[in-house]
């Protein structure tokens, strides 16, 4: 196939079959945003129900379903895919690569995530969504009637597979595909933190895979791992879930840390303070992330020594995290700070996340945890770290990289409205929840009684949620209202790293010539020590590209068919689904596909056209 032929295709087909990491990145962003909106609607519905005591706007059962869908969606289908979107688009550009290591698997990862998420949502139309919380503790989940939990199990299994594949792809890309001179210790922090997050994915997701497998076999095939009267044990699920679950929260926060480490130096016009300490702290956090899972289980009765060990290990994470906070502060110190929207999100993150960290250390105090556990205090804690950390990070990344990804700059005016309303709304919603929790309001309740001193703070909390929703709508408006800002999109922020050296829109092959990296912050180095242009590491030559293919969609679709077969015990569907999936894998393996070459003339022409 020739270059021209590869480009002249119908748009929908083009997106379904793409293996271009930039397009896959945009798909992740679109998919993640879709689920983020769904999760947000669920959250607002829950907050409306809790606006006043004794309301019955949604019934208790529906409330449980909303709660479960909200948590599951936000963690697996919104936050992670949105981060994956930026990782996909930006990492190859930051390391000077033409492509990712496994373009095919990369696309497959996206489709598995997206179809898995849709499968979860089909449960809404088939008689009840899952209702056992995003943690799906047994025996509540293993005994939950109906098919809701089966959708949870299979939906997460399919999308989790996609995440695992994506993680491996990032690891190999970062190790094998770096441009000449881009040593590990010259990699931008976003790439570094994504690398560590991918390691966590690699080692955390298999535990979830097994947990879900056991739950599926228990629910659908009568296995007895969790059935106490058959010699089973319910704590096993909790361990498997949290051996995955705690690393998962670091899978979310580390890339966000990376985003802030890009945004803050750019807008402080200073090199990141303590680069190697930042890398080291990221690695330590990644390691400790695996040592602390049982802090979610202080109250199940592991015993005082076990509790103490996990308490101390948990508190230890505050040290590398503190190192990071101080490094960001010292990067800002003495800088010429520009208060762009992206930077505002970074600046808003610092105090917000510190508050979440402080409540984290409080929760980690195992004796005190008996008081906090399963109250709104925990809800406040994890929303401070997840919204104050991850979500603010995603918004910072959106404003920062939007010009490169979509070819126009988001309106700064609307952006600032968005930032302030969102920040105020966020603190309004969750700050009061600390006190609700301390006063004894349990989490995951569908209603509360009047006259217990909970009314006012619940009301404030709901108002805050409304404010956040309005803010988010302003963001959506900004996306559509800013499309005319098409000037100054190649390097709008006077950037430091390689992604700002490529033209916008980024050509399919990213770099006409592989760049030669001469220092940390290579673009900044060339701007100030060189002639402002990145040196090339190779002469202009033809470029090898992978072919587009529909097989990723086919493989994922087959698994969805099989999942329905499992949920409703229809053997032909199971077999048919697996035939589709394995058939497509077979085709992929047997039919060699060596891609195509873009001729030099086309690359030269792109260059002349200023692309």
């Amino acid at each position: 196939m020739s270059y021209a032929k590869a480009q002249s295709k119908n748009v929908v087909w083009d997106w379904l079959t793409t293996v271009d990491h930039k397009k896959v990145g945009i798909l992740y962003l679109a998919g993640g945003a879709f689920f983020f909106a769904l999760g947000g609607i669920e959250a607002v519905l829950m907050r409306i129900q809790l606006m006043f005591p004794d309301l019955a706007i949604v019934q208790a059962q529906t409330f449980n379903e909303l709660l479960t869908l909200h948590g599951t969606t936000m963690i697996f289908l919104a936050a992670m895919p949105l981060l994956f979107g930026f990782m996909n688009f930006i990492i190859p550009l930051q390391i000077g690569a033409r492509d990712v290591a496994f373009p095919f698997l990369n696309a497959l990862g996206f489709w598995l995530f997206f179809f898995g998420g849709l499968l979860l949502y089909v449960s809404l139309f088939t008689g009840g969504a899952p209702d056992a919380g995003w943690t799906a503790y047994v025996p509540l989940s293993s005994n939950s009637p109906g098919q809701g939990l089966d959708y949870y199990v299979l939906g997460l299994q399919v999308s989790g597979l996609g995440t695992l594949i994506g993680g491996i792809n990032f690891l190999v890309t970062i190790i094998n595909m770096r441009a000449p001179g881009m040593s590990m210790m010259r990699m931008p922090l976003f790439t570094w933190s994504s690398f560590v997050a991918s390691m966590l994915i690699l080692f955390a997701f298999p535990a979830l895979t097994i947990g879900l497998l056991l739950l599926m076999l228990e629910r659908l095939f009568g296995a007895t791992y969790f059935a106490v009267d058959f010699g089973g044990n319910v704590i096993i699920w909790q361990h498997l879930f949290w051996i995955f679950g705690h690393p998962e929260v670091y899978i979310l926060i580390l890339p966000a840390f990376g985003i802030f480490s890009e945004v803050i130096p750019t807008f402080a016009k200073k090199r990141l303070f303590g680069y190697s300490a930042m890398v080291f702290a990221t690695l330590i956090i990644g390691f400790l992330g695996f040592m602390v899972w049982a802090h979610h289980m202080f109250t199940v009765g592991m015993g005082p020594v076990a509790n103490a060990i996990f308490a101390v290990a948990t508190m230890a994470i505050a040290v590398p995290t503190g190192i990071k906070i101080f490094n960001w502060l010292l990067t800002l110190w003495g800088g010429r700070i520009q208060f762009t929207t992206a930077n505002l999100f970074a600046l808003g993150f610092l105090p917000s996340f510190v508050m979440g960290g402080v409540t984290g250390v409080m929760l980690a105090t195992s004796a005190a945890n008996y008081q906090f556990h399963d109250t709104y205090f925990v809800v406040a804690h994890f929303h401070y770290v997840i919204i104050g950390g991850v979500v603010l990070g995603i918004f910072a990344a959106a404003f920062y990289w939007w010009p490169k990804m979509f070819g126009y700059r988001l309106s700064e005016t609307l952006g600032k409205w968005f930032f302030w309303l969102f920040l105020i709304g966020f603190h309004m919603t969750f700050f009061v929840q600390h006190f609700l929790g301390l006063m004894g309001m349990p989490r995951r309740v569908a209603s509360f009684l009047p006259g217990q001193g909970l009314d006012a703070m619940n009301f404030i909390s709901t108002l805050g949620a409304f404010l956040m929703s309005i803010a988010f709508i302003i963001f959506l408006i900004a996306i559509f209202a800013s499309t005319k800002n098409r000037d100054n999109v190649q390097d709008p922020w006077d950037g430091r790293t390689l992604e700002w050296t490529v033209p916008t829109p980024v050509p399919e092959y990213n770099f006409a010539q592989t760049p030669l990296v001469r220092d940390l912050d290579p673009y900044w180095y060339e701007k100030h020590e060189g002639d402002g242009k990145i040196k090339a590491a190779e002469p202009l030559g033809e470029i090898h590209m992978p072919n587009a293919t529909i097989l990723p969609v086919t493989i994922s679709a087959g698994l969805i068919v099989a999942s329905f077969g499992f949920i409703y015990h229809i053997l032909p569907l199971i077999i048919g689904g697996f035939i589709i999936t394995f058939g497509a894998m077979f085709v992929r393996s047997v039919k060699e596909d060596h891609g195509y070459h873009i001729p030099v003339e086309d690359i030269k022409r792109d260059k002349e056209e200023g692309k």
Binding site: P206, F221, T224, Y225, F230, G231, S589
Partner: protein, 206 residues
């Protein structure tokens, strides 16, 4: 495909499986996948070890396991590891026939292993150990069955490769494929080492 290009002859590099960037990517990525699989099996081992006392009124490990059968299965799998090692050595030597032959031997041993495993499960089932009998039963079948499923997948995968590439000769594309399949096969053997030790020997001995 590379159209309008004459097919050039390629000479054999010392490590044909790692001679191209694609090959190196595949090699590294597959190893990382095995790192993940380690945790996957770790979770299954943990579950089994946590639940192996939960026999209720069903049969327990000491009632069921036979050392002789497990010993034979272990030897078969170990030998299949060696045959796959020979396959790779022949690949690096450029002896494609040798590669194919040793891979077929590996497949044959894999099938023999699976046969014993099916026989074994059948026996246990008739001794009263159904999948749902007890937590021990469920976790035993899940652990050993997942390993068996890996063997079956490995057999199928290698067979597909052998048929697809029966007369293409060694190429820069199929060398990495054979190599990853062999890595996978060794990994299955590694898991089995733990299974025969932790499940069978400990089941009988303590």
């Amino acid at each position: 495909m590379a159209d309008h290009q004459a097919v050039e002859k390629q000479t054999l590099p010392p490590n044909p499986e790692k001679a191209t960037l694609d090959g190196r990517n595949k090699y590294l990525g597959f190893w990382f996948f095995l790192g993940g699989e380690t945790v996957l099996f770790g979770s299954l081992f943990g579950t089994y070890l946590g639940l192996r006392g939960g026999v209720v009124d069903g049969p327990g490990p000491a009632d069921l396991f036979h050392l002789d059968l497990v010993f034979i299965m272990t030897m078969i799998l170990l030998t299949s590891s060696l045959t796959s090692v020979f396959a790779v050595i022949n690949m690096k030597r450029g002896n494609y026939k040798g590669l194919l032959m040793w891979m077929w031997a590996t497949v044959a041993l894999g099938i023999a292993f699976l046969g014993f495993e099916i026989y074994e499960f059948y026996e246990y089932y008739h001794a009263g150990l159904g999948f749902t009998t007890s937590a021990f039963a469920s976790s035993f079948y899940t652990l050993v069955g997942t390993h068996g499923a890996h063997v079956a997948f490995g057999v199928a995968w290698i067979t597909v490769l052998l048929i697809r590439y029966r007369n293409t000769g060694l190429t820069l594309t199929n060398a990495p494929k054979f190599n990853t399949a062999v890595l996978y096969w060794h990994f299955i053997d590694v898991v089995w080492v733990f299974i025969f030790t932790v499940v069978y020997l400990l089941g009988i001995g303590g």
